[in-house]
Amino acid sequence: ESNLEQTKVSIAVGGKTLFYYLPLTIAEQKGFFKEEGLEVEISDLSGGSKALQALVGGSADVVSGSYEHTISMQAKGQDIVAFVVEGNAPGIVLGVAKNKADKITSAKDLKGLNIGVTAPGSSTHMYVKTLLVKAGLSPDDISAIGVGAGAGAVAALEHGEVDAVANLDPVIAKLEADDAIKVMYDTRTKAGVDEVYGGDYHAAVLYTKASYLHDNPHTSQALANAIVHALKWMASATPEEIVNTVPEAYYGGDKALYTAALKANLGSYSKTGEFSKEATEHVLAVLKAFDEKVQKATIDLSKTYDDQFAKAAQSAVK
């Protein structure tokens, strides 16, 4: 199929090993990109915002990142468009330290505490803000401490530096395995997402510049096909099959922990890769609440995603 505008695609991702982006790795490992005639290079960056910067700066063609970015970029005048969904649940978990769990039972009790987020201003931070507002508090009622999404986050909670964390797997899985936290809000599951956001929510997507989609429709289609392929395969595969597909480096010797975390996350992935208007609106609502730039701007949601590729992929991928 030489109708591809380009066969070499560079994809940027902020934290390739995160469960959030697992479909990307599956597509890569199972060779679904190759099947589409693509040669992808996946660059791993230190965070989602760095991946976005790589796209804007032109060093990456496509980003595997958070749908939120397409909205906040529109507010800044950048035309970024999502074209296939990887996950429908952010996978963020708010957990409180076990030893304080009896005193903290709902978001209301968070007032005045130190809460570890991956980085100030990040989506985990916004997640905490959402919870606080829902509980009738102000976002400034807590102090958010950036603890990263690695060993530092585990240490911060286990050493009492923070009273609660809003973080992702494998941090949460590790803390659970260590019996260090009690999970309070969990958006790895459909139920959890509904509870926090009041319905569907787009998390990981593939997005790129509008011009790229326009100039490379076939390449974009091929990318969407590969992701949808991966999503479908994941929906039918057992957790063990998935674990055996990811590179060994992902579970770094502790396969059991990884498998457990994977099971907790399996519900978060999209089945079809398609968009839903409702889910995009939920995302916008969250951003409107906390992002000044988005508040001021008028956002045209229809320009933040392009559903045609994912739709076409349904028939392309058996």
Partner: protein, 274 residues
């Protein structure tokens, strides 16, 4: 750097004030030129303002900060971390540098270990520091120390090695004890080495503090910058860098002040060649 100059005329040559004023003028011109270049290129999209911001909003942000109150806390924390890292790192480096510089066996044995530690990417140590020192200022201080230490250490070590053997022999003949020898010969003789490294490490102490805050903290300039980066507010990021830079220059000025006190005996050499 800096140091006055002029051609090595015997005696009381040209009025030094005009020379200094000229330098300030050039610096100012350069500064304005840079800002103009920045403003124009970003305004006309030659440089993307997404990455490079724009001068007016950056200055506006700095102004807003200093009209408010919150910034003082953040700045204070970062300065405190920087100062602590700088002082502790430099003092430690001087002690170890002197000790190894004067001790052949110990230095030969320690050699690969020190180089190995210097080659270690410090950022990776950040989580460990967080465990040991918590998320407060001390983990940032520790990170800063690891940066400052090696720069100063290698220079103190070399500075001690470079001391003129005749000077040492003379002081020993005059009855200097080991401690007096260090105080009266090795240290003064190594001053230029030490200060050269101090200038480099002032900057590094700031880097340590900011990167430390960047990796995990609840306040400080690094925190502000990190937060702004998270929402792609490049102007705030640059404003933060600008403020940090100004304070780095102030701290460096203090180092230069101490240097010129301790180093005033130097002949003013002429390197410009007629």
């Amino acid at each position: 750097m800096s140091s006055s100059a002029s051609t090595r005329a015997a005696g009381v040559a040209q009025p030094a004030i005009s020379y200094k004023a000229r330098i300030r003028l050039y610096q100012l011109a350069l500064l304005i030129g840079l800002f103009l270049f920045w403003g124009i290129t970003t305004h006309y999209g030659i440089l993307p303002s997404f990455f490079f911001g724009e001068p007016i909003p950056v200055l506006q942000q700095v102004f807003d900060w200093f009209s408010g109150t919150a910034i003082y806390m953040h700045l204070g924390i970062t300065l405190l971390e920087t100062l602590l890292a700088f002082v502790i790192g430099a003092v430690l480096a001087m002690i170890v540098g002197l000790w190894l510089g004067l001790n052949d066996l110990a230095s030969a044995v320690a050699d690969p270990y020190i180089k190995a530690m210097n080659a270690m990417p410090r950022v990776i140590l950040a989580p460990i520091f967080a465990v040991w020192f918590g998320l407060g200022i001390w983990s940032k201080v520790a990170l800063g120390i690891t940066l400052v230490f090696f720069i100063v250490f290698f220079n103190v070590y070399q500075g001690v090695r470079e001391v003129s053997p005749t000077l040492v022999a003379n002081a020993r003949m005059l009855g200097a004890s080991r401690k007096q020898l260090i105080r009266s010969v090795y240290l003064p003789s190594a001053t230029s080495w030490v200060f050269s490294s101090l200038h480099t490490s002032v900057g590094m102490a700031f880097v340590g503090a900011v990167v430390g805050e960047y990796l995990g903290s609840a306040r400080g300039m690094g925190y502000l910058i990190h937060q702004a980066e998270g929402v792609f507010d490049i102007n705030t990021v640059l404003a933060g860098i600008l403020v940090l830079t100004i304070f780095a220059l102030i701290l460096d000025g203090l180092v230069t002040l101490v240097e010129s006190k301790l180093h005033g005996w130097r002949p003013v050499a002429d390197h410009s060649g007629h």
